[in-house]
Symmetry: C2
Subunit: 340 residues, 2 copies
DNA sequence: TTGTAAGCGTTATCAT
DNA sequence: ATGATAACGCTTACAA
């Protein structure tokens, strides 16, 4: 009853030993042809290749990794892949990872330190060769883990001393955004910030706003700065509050496109016109921001490139082409569209 | 010169043997406490735990996998993570994968068969336990690979005999969408389809459109059906063409939200009003579709759930709780918003 | 309850 | 140019 063994050659898994046997050579020889690690006579090579073909043999990368001590896999930790901003940078990472033959493990942290730690442990156990971390802040504990695990990491969109990173200059970008508004003769400019505990999206961008105003000798009024968050809703609410002021702003700098879209909606709902009554500039240049109506003026972050460059940096580190920390800051652009 | 060995305990990697030594027990005992696979006396267990703690030991999952013959990793193949639709379902997958302690490898196929094959080989070599495939079609070759690799796969958004899948009833959903328009007394209804070679987004949805009209005894006019694609641009172009007709439609069913947003833009640009002059219904209920202006009436696909359920199905298969093929078809909903 | 040892599928060293 | 064989770090009979 148990001679169904070879009924479907497809269902039995072969290993290097089987190939060696079938080809009539040693397993070392098979290994050599698979990896082209040492010269093998053409004739024996052919025998081996035939055997591989016939058996449908696929090398076991797990076994290989155990021996060679790397996995050709890297981790990506992102706050939430379902948020507008990240898929594009993940795509950038993945494209170059693929070029260098790395696979990627994707993790969603929800900006939650517990989850970050848990995922990191998981990835460490799975012996990733490196990690790309998207987020504004790396916690002390995570920092420690990264160091003691001795896994190279590169940060996107955040900074931490000693860890290579790729970012844009958020403060300067924000300043440019409001300078743009200032040059259009707006003098009463509101801002809907990111979370204030967020060093990049929150603090740095607010700082840029302040600087721009101060430079022009304009006082920054408390009533005009509203702490937002990351999402649509907080942009919507923020704009409602701003427009309800006795004297509402003539322009609003909203620290993310998603919030900006929320703000536009709130403003339109209240019967104001964009940009006639209020001008809006967003931040990020998320895919959709050029497609909505009215299309959004915004600060363009090179999301795909940030991913691609970060991954490129990581491969350099992994191949010892580059040593230690290095902070890459990329160019952004101010994009003018219908909302201003 | 080489006694820098213990200068930073953190930089040297320990294995199970080191732990055993430090704790004064055998490695099997250590293994047992790590995996709680067999009872261990509390006292020895404590010794082991202490040793683990002190050394900062992390088990090597690669070595473990080699032995136990599974990796607790699964693959996701998606056309393009940067496209509106997929991140949400990937998130659904990831959340339940995480619950069951699986890690995910993310791959972008660009709907390209070569890439699919290449990725599949890569994932097979890395010994994934299962695969979730997002896409409308699985090619013959890929099919073969899947079978001979003996890796369980579940499909999202497509069907293939013998492979479990989770979908919605695209034809019926499309029919409901245009029925909705019909009930609003539209009689001249245009459609911008997906790619016609796409069985779900293209063919099935067009079929639903046809059926709805036929049922009402309305002839389907060739000039009113326009083949689109997946993206914004084709929706934009399609709407332009439709509105340029001598007698333009009073409503358009657009087979994806991204295209629908493009269509809205085109229509608004030409000075028509939505929904007064033309009503629009989209398909997908992508995150942004409720946030744009005018917000989009659409068919809501439960994207997150599709991912979550697919992953749940996969875990069942992996744990032998369920056998063979099974096709899950989920509910959709027609969502009425401002564009109708 | 604990220890010994074989084996998972590779690569790489050392002979030949 | 090729072949034996010892690792890689773990789990799991089997013995004690």
């Amino acid at each position: 009853m148990d001679e169904e063994v070879e009924e479907r050659g497809s269902l039995v898994k072969f290993n290097i030993k089987d190939v060696a046997q079938k080809a009539g050579v040693s397993i070392s020889t098979v290994s050599r042809v698979i990896n082209s690690s040492k010269p093998v006579k053409q004739k024996t090579k052919d025998k081996v290749l035939d055997a591989i073909e016939e058996l449908g043999y696929r090398p076991n990368a797990i076994a290989r990794s155990l021996k060679v001590k790397h996995t050709k896999s890297i981790g990506i930790m992102t706050p939430d892949i379902a948020n507008q901003f990240y898929p594009e940078v993940v795509r950038g990472i993945e494209d170059v990872a693929n070029m260098y033959e790395y696979s990627i493990f994707l993790c969603n942290t929800d900006l939650n330190e517990e989850k970050e730690l848990q995922y990191f442990a998981e990835l460490e156990e799975k012996q990733i060769d490196g990690l790309i971390f998207l987020g504004n802040h790396v916690s002390k504990e995570l920092r420690n883990e990264m160091e003691s695990a001795d896994i190279p990491v590169v940060l996107i969109g955040g900074k931490a001393t000693g860890i290579p990173s790729v970012t844009i200059n958020n403060e300067k970008a924000a300043k440019d955004a409001v300078d743009f508004l200032l040059n259009r003769n707006h003098r009463r400019i509101g801002i809907i910030t990111g979370k204030m505990k967020d060093p990049m999206m929150g603090q740095a961008r607010l700082k840029g706003y302040q600087k721009a105003l101060e430079e022009k000798g304009i006082e920054v009024k408390e009533e005009l700065v509203i702490e937002g968050g990351y999402r649509y809703k907080s942009g919507y609410d923020g704009a409602k509050r701003l427009m309800a002021l006795k004297v509402p702003p003539t322009a609003i700098f909203v620290c993310s496109d998603e919030m900006a879209i929320g703000a536009c909606r709130a403003i339109l709902e209240d019967g104001h016109e964009i940009p006639k009554d209020v001008a809006i500039v967003g931040f990020d240049n998320v895919d959709i921001s050029g497609k909505v109506y009215p299309s959004l003026s915004t600060i363009g972050q090179p999301m795909y490139e940030m991913g691609a460059i970060a991954m490129r940096l990581l491969t350099k580190i992994l191949h010892n082409e580059s040593i230690g920390a290095s902070d890459i800051v990329l160019d952004y652009e101010v994009i003018e569209r219908e909302s201003t």
